[in-house]
């Protein structure tokens, strides 16, 4: 599955040169010295999600993966770069196009409890997008809510209860039903199962998989859990300190990670398979603070292969001959090994 030469129409959502800087609140000495500091949360990211595929974005905390998700949904305006939905720049949308985009691009959050209104019965919450976008007649909307609840594996009678009466797994099912109500073609799921126990996570992943396949949904799956990625995603981008450092088909990246950070990350995941033993050597160092990112390649202080060049120059994300993309000088010739 090569993904290098796909025509524009193959992509449902595309981000181009996305960069986002946050202002940092100024300390007393900053004010005295007149400095303004900014954190670069996302830096020069290109991402293209195909129709019906699950595209995972993985990274550790502070890697910028959630900010990227919010930029793709139009919830955060990037400092630089553009987002295209169906080939159209979302910054140029008319009011009605923006309404359509809000229907077609939906989100599922990690914590369903904070995503739900505690005082509103769940049936009304699922119905709300239908009301807002005036989809169907009121009785059709109620029927749609019942159907959605069934599709996510909940008893339609639960439409009358409030979120507090539901378990975490059931709430996440409600969160999914809400996201699906307006028939989206892409969902950004930000750590959708990270707060759940493993047996509940399995149920939710199965529900998501069924709906994704039935509806041919595209998904941007943001997570730190590499097990979930290897199970659920078609393609994956690995982020480190705001940049994509490697991107590939999931099976290829897991079988043969190229970037030294991808390798470190994969080797640090404890496996439950029999015979698994701890990594012979624990990974080195800690992720650098986005407040004071290292010069050159942001990973160089932790990288076992760091060269002089890595300290001064940041490598570009380059296409490899096998279809992968890697941002590392070790792979700068594009030969893929």
């Amino acid at each position: 599955m090569s993904n290098t030469q796909s025509p524009e129409s193959a992509f449902i959502l595309r981000g181009e040169d996305l960069t986002h800087r946050f202002p940092v609140s100024r300390t007393f000495s900053d004010i005295l010295s007149g400095t303004r500091r900014a954190v670069t949360g996302v830096s020069g990211v290109n991402i293209a999600v195909k129709r019906g595929e699950v595209f995972a974005v993985v990274g550790e905390s502070g890697s910028g993966k959630s900010t990227l998700g919010r930029i793709l949904l139009g919830l955060v305006k990037p400092t630089l770069g553009r987002v295209f939905h169906e080939g159209k720049n979302i910054a140029d949308f008319t009011a009605s196009e923006r309404m359509t985009f809000r229907q077609k691009a939906q989100v599922v959050y990690q914590d369903p409890f904070s995503a739900l209104n505690p005082s509103m019965r769940i049936g009304r919450q699922i119905r709300e997008p239908l009301d807002v976008h005036r989809i169907g007649t009121p009785s059709q909307r109620n029927a749609a809510v019942a159907a959605l609840l069934e599709q996510v594996g909940l008893d339609p009678a639960l439409a009358r209860v409030r979120p507090e009466e539901l378990s975490g797994g059931m709430r996440q099912r409600v969160g999914i039903a809400m996201a699906l109500a307006s028939s989206p073609d892409i969902i950004v799921a930000d750590e959708p199962t990270s707060a759940l126990d493993v047996s509940v996570q399995a149920q939710i992943l199965n529900v998501l998989a069924k709906l994704q396949q039935q509806r041919k949904l595209a998904m941007v799956f943001i997570t730190h859990d590499l097990g979930v990625v290897s199970h659920f995603a078609d393609r994956v981008a690995v982020m480190y300190l705001g940049r994509i450092i490697e991107q590939d088909d999931v099976r290829k990246l897991f079988a043969e990670p190229k970037h030294p950070y991808s390798r470190m990350l994969l080797s640090a995941v404890p496996s439950h398979r029999p015979g698994a033993r701890p990594v012979p050597e624990a990974p080195r160092g800690e992720p650098a603070s986005p407040l004071s990112p290292p010069t050159g390649c942001a990973f160089h202080p932790r990288c076992p292969h760091a060269m002089e060049r890595c300290r001064v120059e940041a490598p570009m994300l380059r296409d490899q001959s096998d279809g992968a993309k890697v941002a590392c000088f070790l792979f700068d010739d594009g030969a893929g090994q």
Binding site: S167, G169, S199, L205, L226, P270
Partner: protein
């Protein structure tokens, strides 16, 4: 001889709705030089077990059974005797290192205070020892870090400091309750490796590692006890349990972990949900969700505790039939 021997530990709480049992007749032991994993999903009682070992349960808790440590029953000790034990001989680290750290004091002074209090060291010796401890938990330029406040450190760094405090008095037992759950996976690997090296090499101590993460157990523990709804359902060496899980709950749990070997959407799930604390019927608590359940599983004396081999025990009726 076991360092810690827990027999029939039962913990119940008086609540407005009556008395609920969070932990029911739990028995296990911890030996010197080993890491015992206690694994289970939220609400299974694993943290309550940890807290009862330190006498840290709230006053409305009722503790039954015995917790033998060094021929003393911890469950029967008064607060003064417990305080002598805690931190000194039995130390603990929690998921959130800020539970162990005071936000308004520099980490150096917190370490020094612990050392002076528990080991009766003078200020200069304690400061020297504190620097050594910080270095041993992998903190670079420890002399400088002594001056830092907890908020100036990353989450991984704070957990290292909490670990330094925990090991400062050379405890016999370390209880680690989800010590790496809030941390990134590369940092998790570092902290767990440290626990292994600092505590179990040279058989200095035993570690009780409480977690929901079966991968962590598989990679860092020697033995494991699997808990479900307040009871241990299976216990044994890690290689046995992960290679050949016997209890249907353990089997279901392991099959539910996503990885690249299972097709998308085809994860095995455990039907139903964990029974509420107030709604745990007679017999095997897993029976209502169990694919192998038999009528006998709901008998009050079910399930039997079956010894399969030395160190390998399972609470399931299917292994009792000979």
């Amino acid at each position: 001889m076991a360092l810690l021997q827990i027999n029939d530990l039962t913990v119940s709480f008086e609540t407005g709705a009556g008395c609920v049992e969070a932990v029911s007749a739990v028995s296990f032991h911890l030996a010197n030089g080993e890491i015992l994993g206690l694994v289970g999903e939220s609400g299974c009682g694993k943290s309550t077990v940890a807290y009862s070992l330190l006498g840290l349960l709230p006053p409305h808790a009722r503790v039954g059974g015995s917790i033998k440590f060094d021929a003393v029953d911890i469950a029967k000790l008064d607060e003064r005797a417990l305080r002598k034990l805690r931190g000194n001989r039995i130390a603990m680290i929690f998921q959130d290192p800020m539970t162990a750290l005071d936000p308004s004091f520099r980490i150096g002074s917190q370490l020094v205070e612990t050392l002076r209090l528990h080991l009766n060291l003078d200020g200069v010796t304690a400061a020297k020892r504190a620097v050594e401890l910080l270095r041993s938990v992998g903190i670079s330029s420890p002399e400088l870090r002594m001056q830092a406040y907890p908020h100036e450190l990353s989450g991984g760094m704070r957990q290292r400091v909490a670990l330094a405090i925990a090991i400062s008095c050379n405890p016999d037992v370390l209880i680690a309750d989800e010590p790496t759950t809030g941390l990134d996976v590369t940092i998790q690997a570092q902290v767990l490796q440290l626990i292994r090296v600092l505590l179990t090499k040279e058989k200095r101590s035993g570690v009780l590692l409480i977690t929901h993460d079966l991968g962590v157990i598989a990679n860092y523990c020697d033995r494991v006890a699997v808990m479900y709804a307040g009871k241990i359902v299976e216990t044994g060496a890690v290689s046995d349990i992960f290679g050949d899980p016997k209890h249907p709950y353990t089997q279901g749990l392991l099959a539910a972990i996503p990885d690249g070997t299972i097709a998308r959407g085809a994860l095995r799930t455990i039907p139903g949900r964990v029974p509420a604390l107030t709604d745990r019927g007679a017999g095997c608590r897993f029976a209502p969700r169990c694919p192998m359940a038999l009528p006998v599983c709901l008998q009050p004396d079910s399930p039997p505790w079956v010894g399969l081999s030395q160190q390998r025990e399972v609470a399931c009726v299917q292994y009792a039939i000979t």
